[in-house]
Amino acid sequence: MHEPELSRLRMGLVPLADCAPLVVARERGFFARHGLDVSLSVEGSWAGVRDKLAAGLLDAAQMLAPMPLAAQLGMDGFGVPLISALTLSRNGNMITVSNSLRDALAGPEADPTAHGLALNALLTRERAAGKRPRVLAHVYPHSSHHFLLREWLGRSGIDADRDLHLLSIPPPLLVHCLRAGQIDGFCAGAPWGLAAEAAGVGRNLFATQKVRPDCVEKVLGVRAEWAERYPQTHLRLVAALIEAGQWLEGEGRREEAAQILARGAYLDVSPQILLAALSDRSEGNLNPGFCFSGDDLGAPRSADMAWLEHQLQDWGEVPVSPSAALNRCYRADLHQQALAYCTLER
């Protein structure tokens, strides 16, 4: 086996419960096992992750699933081609609203259809009364959160562009904005919905796995040019993260991961909230439902890609047909290679 071309890497992440595979890969020695010394850089925004990856300040990063496609299509403003050979996580998002909006929606607990219809009725009444449109936040234009929010609103008969204002706010600022009344609700990754509820400023409506189960969430992103220049390094990086994902699905590992994340102070929330986000113990429709591994869950899947493509075309200004770009950026072939490498090395 060849040596990796690079052994010291810098990898970006955003403070969310699903940065767990990266932190576990570092703290439990999966990177080291493959000859990689990876330093993790906690970034303040997804735009910052994109810029630093594109400018070469980061070698690799945890990214929102649509980001590499947006980059391939030149929709992200940068246009430096990115690729992904690994889905780091699925599910994990929650729709959370202010206490007053939750009261106004009334109705049963954690039922996306009932909440959607109630919201539609409320918005119609408020529009008729000439009230200012409500504001809902997601975390980034090219994010599953944005797409899931639109999908839920659309199914409830709400036009996200006419009936509401949507905007992006980075996860760590959401609780503050909800408290300050700048937004009426948000769709964000765990643990931020739980943190808002714990702070008493909002209530969780439901987890987005009720809108779309097993939804592709975070991916490993690298520059296409980087992956070509350092194929052995990239292979090992993917392999180490596959192993970290498998580790996270073992008995009692989520609890351990929550402790590791809390110890490293990656997120500014209490250890109890991290545990609640990762442990998967909460009730049915409020369970974030994270998946970090299992069967083909880590591979870039065509169903995911078709969904991302559809969503981008639905609301965005897609310059060309994205199908060719999809195949260039979500690299199932490189994923298979890394899986084979894991098997050989075991």
Binding site: E43, G44, S45, W46, A47, G48, D51, K52, A54, A55, G56, L57, G77, F78, G79, H138, V139, Y140, P141, D161, L166, L167, S168, I169, P170, P172, L173, Q182, G316
Partner: protein
């Protein structure tokens, strides 16, 4: 419009841009409501710390063009890859409104890169000075330990510390700190 949490850097940037004939519509910190400021001041260009968390809010502005021209990340409007890379390395990102001339963008970005670079050099100098002070303090402490435990005079203690640093390929300050932390364990 400038968005940054370092008052010294904001002051440097403000003075340099004003001197170059640009007008600063507003300066704010990264935790102030950015959206309201953009809507009120309608800047042609927003210079913002690369690490500012509220950048993602600017990203979504460019997606919705219904109200007014909104600033979008400069890379979309402006394609000099080298300048962009230099800006990110210096720690500054920019959002510009559609139709702003490449010359004006270039002029503002050049000033920003230079001032961010200058600020970084100042920070570095300050860090170096702090480090030197810390080194001197720790080297003195380590010398004291050696003198006390090994019965050496000051010159011999210093020579021993230097040999230790050279043989382990450490900086003198780091060797001193290793010795101090080892002494704490004994």
């Amino acid at each position: 419009m400038l968005v940054d949490d370092h008052p010294e850097r904001l002051a440097l940037l403000d003075a340099a841009l004003t001197a170059a004939g640009h007008r600063i519509a507003a300066s704010l910190g990264t935790h102030e409501p950015l959206l309201a400021a953009v809507q009120r001041h309608r800047p042609d260009i927003v210079l913002i710390d690369v690490d500012a968390p509220n950048r993602d809010t600017l990203e979504s502005l460019g997606q919705v063009k219904r109200d007014q021209p909104c600033p979008v990340v400069m890379f979309a409007a402006y394609s000099d890859a080298d300048t962009i890379r230099q800006a990110i390395h210096a720690g500054v990102s920019a959002y510009v409104v559609d139709g702003l001339s490449a010359n004006r963008i270039q002029s503002v970005i050049d000033v920003a890169i230079a001032r961010f670079g200058e600020f970084r050099a100042l920070q570095q100098e300050l860090d170096d000075t702090r480090l030197k002070l810390a080194d001197r303090r720790d080297v003195d402490k380590a010398k004291g330990l050696l003198m006390q435990r090994r019965g050496l005079d000051e010159a011999a203690a210093y020579a021993m510390l230097r040999r230790m640093a050279m043989s382990r390929n450490l900086r003198l300050g780091d060797a001193a700190r290793a010795l101090i932390s080892a002494a704490e364990l004994l």
